[in-house]
Every structure is written in structure tokens, then in C-alpha cells.
């Protein structure tokens, strides 16, 4: 076997995943090649070092902090999702229709008692952001974190997108009608991009905004709210929207 072939097999060799005949060939090569044998030993040592790593321990108040935030209303599931979550799986098919009707009635009531629209806010043009990616695609797009490579500047590597989206999220929560007016003239793809940017802010404000959008008096308010929620849900769980 060549050095390259052995090195390519080292990972499977160390895990015992090589077929016996192939393993025997690697063994024979290692017996006669000090360089490859050293490479194998250093790889094994690296893994041992990594596996001996443990901790750090989480902060003592982590679970209490999470529960307090849930108590305060964060991280709550959507009304329909919460309702479905309490129903045995085998009954969901039979109860889906009345559950949807209940949710629709709830949205109608919120819409009937909606607040008056405040003055319109101005939307500043942002550079287009990538659409939501699954975990697999997000991993594939990650760049090397090599210390030897140019680490870049914080500004370069901390794009303004997420911080700007967070500010947009606050503005939209204060005036969801203004968000709808800003989205109205856009193409479907541009709307998707804008909503994806808001979903990427990635916290409990997003579902609250979706609820507020759904309550607005606009023809596509509900569909935009559902799109926003779908993008946020998919981003949180890594599932495809």
C-alpha cells in the first residue's frame, strides 16, 4: 500500500472499520514505515487527549433561569402547536380540523380588537441575506476557523445582518402594520428574504411578531405570519421549512 492509501485508511483503521484483509495490509505497512506508524500514534494520542477533556460545568442557575423565562412567557409554543402537543398522536388526525377552527376563531377575535395603527416607520434598505439553511447546509457554508488563516476583523466576521435584524424586529413589534406596508410592494422572493432576516434574530420575539402580524387587517397578513413562523421554527430545529 502507498503512504497516501494508508493515511486515507487510518481513520477507519483506528475505529476497527476496515475489512480484515485491508486491515492486514495496513498493519504490514505500519510495521515497515516509521513515518506512517508515528502518524497513527499521534492520531491516537490526539483522540485520547480530546476524550479526556471534560467540563466545564454549566452555571448553577441555568435551569432556574430557563424556567423563569418560560414563566415570563418566552419559549411558549404556538397556540395550535401547544394544543396538538397535548393530544395523543393517534387522535390528531381526527381532531385537526376542529383545532384549526378554534385557532382561526382565536385569530379573528384578536383581529376584531386590534389596536389603531401608529405612524408608518421607514425601512432602510439592507443587503440581501442568505435564505434559511438546514443544519447540513449551514455546516457546509461555515468557513475555516483556522488561527493561522487571516482571522479577519470583528466587523468583517460579525456581519451587521443579525444586529440590524434584531433592531428591525423591535421596530416591527412596535408597529406590525408598518412591516406589512413595507412588505406589500416587494416580490415574493424579497418578502421571503425580509422575513428570513427577521427569523434569524432567533428569539421569542419572532413568534410574538407572527401573532401580531396575523392579527393585522391585510389580505396576506396571515400567510406572512405563517411564513415567518415557519422560517423561525425551521431555523430553531434545523429542519427544512
Amino acid at each position: 500500500m502507498t503512504h497516501g492509501e494508508v493515511r486515507a485508511d487510518l481513520g477507519d483503521y483506528l475505529e476497527g472499520d476496515l475489512p480484515l484483509e485491508r486491515r492486514a495490509l495496513v498493519d504490514a505497512h505500519l510495521d515497515g514505515c516509521a513515518e506512517c506508524a508515528q502518524r497513527m500514534r499521534s492520531l491516537r494520542s490526539t483522540v485520547d487527549t480530546l476524550r479526556a477533556l471534560d467540563g466545564p460545568e454549566p452555571p448553577a442557575g441555568l435551569s432556574a433561569a430557563v424556567l423563569a423565562r418560560i414563566e415570563a412567557g418566552e419559549g411558549r409554543p404556538g397556540a395550535l402547536a401547544s394544543l396538538l402537543g397535548r393530544i395523543p398522536w393517534e387522535l390528531r388526525g381526527r381532531l385537526a380540523a376542529p383545532a384549526l377552527a378554534f385557532a382561526a376563531a382565536a385569530v379573528l377575535l384578536v383581529w376584531l380588537y386590534r389596536p389603531a395603527a401608529p405612524p408608518e416607520l421607514a425601512w432602510v434598505e439592507r443587503p440581501p441575506l442568505p435564505s434559511r439553511q438546514s443544519v447540513q447546509e449551514a455546516i457546509a457554508r461555515e468557513e475555516s476557523f483556522g488561527a493561522s488563516a487571516d482571522p479577519g476583523t470583528p466587523a468583517e466576521d460579525a456581519p451587521a445582518g443579525p444586529r440590524v435584524a434584531s433592531a428591525d424586529l423591535d421596530a416591527a413589534l412596535r408597529d406590525p402594520a408598518s412591516l406589512l406596508r413595507a412588505l406589500a410592494p416587494l416580490s415574493p422572493a424579497e418578502r421571503q428574504e425580509r422575513l428570513a432576516a427577521l427569523a434569524r434574530a432567533g428569539d421569542a420575539r419572532v413568534p410574538a411578531l407572527a401573532d401580531a402580524l396575523a392579527a393585522q387587517d391585510a389580505p396576506d397578513a396571515k400567510s406572512l405570519a405563517e411564513t415567518l413562523l415557519r422560517l423561525y421554527d425551521a431555523r430553531s430545529t434545523g429542519e427544512r421549512p
Binding site: 480530546l50 460545568e57 409554543p77 476583523t153 421569542a204
Partner: protein, 215 residues
């Protein structure tokens, strides 16, 4: 050897190669979290609290090794469990609940990395590791060993920063968290072969980085 979380009863020890872990597991029919999940979905908040306590250590550990900062790891851990609370209804039982939790944590880590400056994360990680707080019970107790242990951990954490996140994540899930290949593949939505090759590449990069650290 670090303490690995066990995922249920009835394990099977599988003799593998030199790096085969003594705690190599295969998937089980019974998920030990299912009963708590059922009670939580039925409205029992204490069951959700128990699920947090059961998974917070592994979640925080993974996030710290991915993000390199205690503060970021804590924020991401809270975000993970809030998202778990919000999206718990999406767990269908077609994988272990712990896989579902890891997936949400992985997303929290990757989403956060996009907004963290590389240099800021690296420096924060070094500062935090040097001022190490409570570590696992397996850490040595005498001052000299404790000091060298902290230095070793800092050295490995520095070297880990040389591994690209897309490689570091499967590496940590496999070698640190002890997840088997099929579970990592399902978690990351990748073929097993890709998972294996990424882990192998990550190990080689880590080895080179550690060699550079010792010079």
C-alpha cells in the same frame, strides 16, 4: 476517560479497533427520556425542569467547545432549552430525545457563530479557560496537577479553534459526547460516510494544531 452519558438500559459492548470506546453503544428500543417527555406534554412543568437538568451538562459542554466562551455558551444553552420548550411538539420519537436536544443545541451554536467575531470568540475562550471555574469531578485536585490540567484544557481548546465548525461539531459529538455515527448522521442530516470523513479530518487538524502548541 471523561464520564459519558448513558442512554438507557441494556447496552452492548462492542469490541472495535484501538480507538473503540469501552462505552460504545448501539441504539436501544427504549428512550429513557420518553416518560418525562410524555408527562411534560401532558402539562407537567416539573418534568420539563427534570429534562433540562438531565441534559444541561451535555448541552453546555458542547456549546462551550463550539463557541469558546462561557457567556456565549450560557446564552446559547438558555436559547436551546427555550427552543426545546417551544418546539417539543415536533419531537416525533423517530430518534432519541437526546438527539433532538443535541440538534437544537447544534443549531444554536451554528447560528450564534455567524454573529460572533472570530477573534472575539477566540480571545474570550482563552480568557475563560484560563480563569477556569468548576470542572468535572475527574479533574486532579493537587495544585500542580490542577494548574497543568487547566493549561492542558486551554491548550486543547485553543487547538480546537483551528478546526472549522463544520468539522468540529461532528468531532465533538463523537469523541466528546460519545454519540455513535448513525445518531450523528441523523442529527446533522448527513450520510454516515460524510460524518466519518469529517471526524477523521478534524482529528488530523487537531493533531497538527496540538503539535504546533507543544513546539
Amino acid at each position: 476517560m471523561s464520564d459519558r452519558q448513558r442512554r438507557g438500559v441494556g447496552h452492548e459492548l462492542v469490541e472495535r479497533g484501538p480507538l473503540a470506546r469501552a462505552d460504545a453503544w448501539r441504539e436501544h428500543d427504549r428512550d429513557p427520556d420518553l416518560e418525562l417527555v410524555r408527562r411534560w406534554r401532558a402539562g407537567d412543568v416539573q418534568s420539563f425542569a427534570a429534562l433540562i437538568r438531565r441534559h444541561e451538562r451535555r448541552v453546555y459542554r458542547l456549546l462551550f467547545r463550539m463557541l469558546g466562551s462561557r457567556e456565549e455558551a450560557e446564552d446559547a444553552a438558555q436559547e436551546t432549552f427555550l427552543n426545546l420548550h417551544r418546539h417539543g411538539h415536533r419531537f416525533r420519537g423517530d430518534a432519541l430525545f437526546s438527539t433532538f436536544v443535541y440538534r437544537i443545541a447544534a443549531n444554536a451554536a451554528l447560528n450564534r457563530r455567524r454573529s460572533l467575531g472570530r477573534r472575539r470568540a477566540h480571545e474570550a475562550g482563552l480568557a475563560n479557560e484560563q480563569a477556569a471555574g468548576p470542572m468535572a469531578p475527574s479533574a486532579p485536585r493537587d495544585p500542580e496537577s490542577a494548574a497543568s490540567g487547566a493549561e492542558d484544557r486551554a491548550r486543547v481548546q485553543r487547538a480546537l479553534q483551528d478546526v472549522a465548525p463544520k468539522l468540529r461539531l461532528p468531532l465533538l459529538l463523537y469523541d466528546l459526547e460519545g454519540l455513535p455515527y448513525p445518531e450523528i448522521a441523523k442529527l446533522l442530516d448527513l450520510p454516515e460516510g460524510t460524518v466519518k470523513s469529517r471526524i477523521h479530518r478534524a482529528r488530523e487538524i487537531l493533531r497538527d494544531a496540538l503539535s504546533g502548541e507543544s513546539r
